[in-house]
């Protein structure tokens, strides 16, 4: 890489920002237990756009803390294998909001790890193809499925270049109040929408990654010039996955 010399100091700055964010988050946790943030009473609007920066250099091989945290937060770990289903098939079929992906450069052997989830596109293909309007983009940039309108056609799953969506194939016995789930609908990462609406600053995956000491996931508001997210994006080189599709993703990756 030509920019190697330049990247190093920037990287350090990013890391320290990330560390600062982590401390800020920790403080936030304390604050929250003291004074619970108010639930949202005004409609979400486009003064914010939520997004993330994922620094793949900090994403550890073999670590799946973000996936586990997401599963717990969103009740995905409560899914039960249907009777008689093969383990392998079930592993492929059960709903998953974050996948750990590893890419390898066959020439150099360099392996890159990254969590892949809904990229919360500005121009989401899933929304374009949805025949019922169930797939929609909320004013603050979060791409969601309104499962009261979803008919389970799965066009969105075909349209998504990131394989971010899952279909619920069978009756779901156990579910959390904050994440309803049932047979016949499609779902995907909602950027912890219940946290957004209850004034909690982070996502489950970003918290878990920070708790592991990796700080590979930085969540924030892409429209706030003072947010640690925007500051980090200004400083370090990042990319959109499949930027050729011009979807203007809300999730950006560094080091890919």
């Amino acid at each position: 890489m030509k920019m190697k010399d330049k990247v190093q100091p920037d990287r350090r700055a990013f890391l320290s920002t990330a560390a600062m964010t982590a401390t800020a988050l920790a403080a936030g946790v304390v604050l929250r237990t003291v004074a619970q943030a108010e639930p949202r009473s005004e409609a979400a609007d486009d003064s914010v756009r939520y997004g993330m920066l994922i620094d793949t250099n900090r994403c550890a091989e073999g670590c799946d803390a973000c996936v586990q945290a997401c599963n717990r937060e969103n009740g995905l770990d409560l899914q039960e294998k249907p009777e008689g289903a093969e383990d392998g098939k079930w592993a492929l079929q059960k709903a998953q909001w974050i996948r750990k992906v590893q890419v390898q450069d066959n020439l150099t052997g360099k392996r890159t790890n990254l969590p892949l989830m809904c990229q919360h596109c500005e121009h989401p293909p899933c929304v374009d193809v949805c025949p019922t309007g169930a797939s929609f983009k909320r004013a603050d940039g979060i791409v969601l499925v309104d499962r009261h309108i979803c008919i389970g056609c799965r066009y969105c799953m075909m349209a998504c270049p990131y394989k971010a969506r899952s279909f619920i194939h069978q009756v779901v016995e156990k579910k959390l109040t904050q994440t309803p789930r049932g047979k016949g609908c499609v779902e995907s990462c909602n950027l912890c929408v219940h946290r957004r609406d209850n004034g909690i600053e982070s996502t489950a995956c970003a918290d878990a990654c920070a708790a592991e000491g990796h700080q590979a996931i930085l969540f924030g508001d892409l429209k706030d010039p003072n947010s640690p997210l925007v500051k980090a994006l200004e400083r370090i080189a990042s990319r959109q996955l499949r930027e050729d599709l011009a979807l203007n993703t809300g999730v950006r990756y560094a080091g890919v």
């Binding site: 949202r40 009473s41 909320r138 779901v172 959390l176 109040t177 309803p180 049932g182 957004r196 609406d197």
Partner: protein, 136 residues
């Protein structure tokens, strides 16, 4: 039109049931629920009997599309207040045929599909992964 007629009939029937149950000395609020110790529902009782579905479904769109959570009309809220608990304090699913939503719906032969997805007892994401106790 036909729908309205059916709805009218159903509602009259449910009112009749409500009146008979009240004549028998009770409302549909189940003992052991938070509602049993409250004076009133989120809206006047008579209004709720007739219109609770409209209330929740309106809220559904507000919450899912606009993110509005500061509301007394959330489905989670209905369940939180109306859920009954057994002698161990374990919440009993509200859609069971002898519980608040389930009993009236069974009598009325309405089968809302909500509980195919929505939890029938209050649960939290925090450890341990059990239904919440008596808190709140």
């Amino acid at each position: 039109m036909a729908n309205a007629l059916v709805r009218g009939c159903l509602i009259s029937a449910s009112l009749a049931w409500a009146l008979s149950a009240q004549a028998a000395g009770g409302s549909f609020v189940v003992p052991g629920s938070k509602a049993a110790s409250e004076k009133s529902c989120v809206e006047p009782t008579a209004f709720m009997r007739r219109n609770h579905m409209e209330v929740i479904e309106h809220q559904r769109d507000e919450t899912v599309h606009s993110g509005i959570r500061a509301t007394k009309h959330s489905l989670a809220g209905c369940i939180q207040c109306h859920v009954s608990r057994d002698s161990n304090g374990t919440p009993i699913p509200v859609d069971r045929p002898d519980q608040f939503c389930g009993a009236c719906h069974r009598y009325m032969a309405v089968r809302p599909d909500c509980f195919g997805c929505h939890a029938t007892v209050p649960t939290s994401a925090a450890l341990p992964r059990q239904p919440q106790g008596e808190t709140n």
